[in-house]
Symmetry: C2
Subunit: 305 residues, 2 copies
């Protein structure tokens, strides 16, 4: 079983409008809802790839109920979310038909009480026993200590479970110091962590800070991996045009899936880049186009970096 | 008991953001939620004025549950909403701190099945027995026949319950033909109904189409009433600056409250204008400022029109 942690789960809502104009009143023509938060997205892709995956983190209120109801209908996915008194946040993506773009509104998330954080830590330790890998993903809701991920990395390492960390800012900085097996920053997150905008130098610096492997996502330029076994640059055959929402989460799913199957690094990177590109190409934000994924698997280029 | 009907109830959500920019991602700094839909707003004001009020219409899904949970905490208000399979709509008001304005996103509402509409009609007839007045408010959710309000007006008249209709477009046109006691269109709705932009002519025309009394809301210019007892124009002492959300619903509550207490028309209009102005002045959208209301009661001018 692969475990994914989403401390700030979300009910992701997409609204379709003709054209978004500030100050105006809009009739929403289409409403779509699905469970979200980075770790939940990663879990959905892992389940679609045929892995047994368990989702933990927090859920509460009517929005939390909506998230859990929908997770219950996903084959291969087990819900191990911890109940909280506050309500799971909503995110609203307003898709503008005329402009062809999206405007995003993200609620901050529920206040987590110390006792709720304690209950989560107990559940997490139980779940680690039986996990082949764990991914720690996304932002922290209010009330969770900023060193939370550092703590979760240490607990995973203590039980010998490989741990991937995908977050940003201070939680990333502290988490890296706890020596995670993999971090997957994008170019901005990596620059914020290391102070360098030069990816090769920045990945090396991030490893020096404690990450065993750094996989930097460079958008349309693919992934740059600095690992104990070597350095590689994996690129898609051509830039993808579409919606990049969830492309990073799909890359994380590809890395975890390859880790769980003990694939060599170049194969893990190929899978991650193919999934990421197939997600950009998908018509539904955050889903991947399976036919495109299978075709891309044979066309991703991996070179020594 | 006063009965208010809200066929398209809503969970009204307000987001505070620093500045709304299309295509950007926004962190919402504050989230507020409350039950909405015009008839629900009218009921809240009536309850605050000390009336016993019953709310009916439809509620469903997690959003419907959130609406009902909150209504349960309002003293003087009885929840008689009819459950439906679809989810109650959300409305999102995005308050822009920098621009000082609001952008509105309204979901369409749940699809109402014929059997659900039938169940509502049964409930409505039961509730009319015991009502001193009824208000029919707002838009129709998908699946409800366009002649719905005409039908509800006839049922109220058959039981001798005075009926106020506050809607727009084709549902208003058909509803007026069923001879409601009062309609309360704003200037645009009245012009759409009658084809005239001249309020005195338009109110007269709307009465000819079937409304016993027409009370036109003219924004900062107050109310123009054309009744069987005479014609009046009621104006606030000065234009109010603030948020006009819910001002029309407060005016309806004022008219109904005066009707239930058998006040003469000028007193009803005074109450409606004072409540409406006190709603614009309130810091919370849709609430009225009670101190302002009591002061305004002595300062509204009512003249023959």
């Amino acid at each position: 079983m692969i475990l994914t942690v989403t401390l700030n789960t979300a009910l992701d809502i997409t609204y379709r409008v003709r054209s978004l104009r500030p100050h105006a009143s809009h009739r929403v023509s289409e409403v779509a809802e699905r469970p979200g938060g980075k770790g939940v997205n990663v879990a959905r892709v892992l389940a679609a790839l045929g892995h047994e995956v368990t989702v933990t983190g927090f859920a509460g209120g009517g929005t939390g109920r909506a998230v859990r109801d929908r997770l219950a209908g996903t084959p291969g996915l087990t819900d191990a979310l911890v109940p909280v008194a506050g309500a799971t946040r909503r995110t609203i993506a307003v898709a503008d038909e005329l402009a062809g773009d999206t405007t995003q509104l993200n609620e901050p998330g529920p206040q987590i009480a110390p006792a709720e954080w304690g209950a989560f830590l107990d559940r997490y330790e139980e779940l680690l026993d039986g996990a082949s890998a764990v991914a720690l993903c996304g932002s922290l809701p209010p009330g969770v200590p900023v060193g939370a991920y550092a703590n979760l990395v240490r607990l995973a390492r203590a039980q010998g479970v490989p741990v991937l960390l995908d977050t940003s800012g201070e939680p990333l900085r502290r988490g890296v110091a706890a020596r995670p097996d993999i971090i997957k920053p994008n170019a901005d997150e990596l620059a914020e962590l290391t102070g360098s905008h030069e990816p090769l130098r920045a990945t090396r610096d991030a490893r020096r800070r404690g990450a065993r492997t750094v996989v930097a996502s460079l958008g349309p330029d693919g992934l740059l991996a600095d690992t104990p076994e070597g350095r590689w640059h994996a690129t898609p055959p051509a830039p993808e045009f579409g919606n990049p929402t969830g492309a990073g989460d799909s890359a994380v799913a590809g890395l975890l899936s390859g880790l769980a199957e003990h694939l060599p690094w170049p194969d893990r990177l190929t899978r991650a880049v193919a999934l990421s590109a197939a997600t950009v190409r998908s018509r539904t934000a955050g889903d991947f186009d399976r036919a495109a994924y299978e075709k891309l698997l044979t066309r991703v280029a991996v070179t020594a970096a």
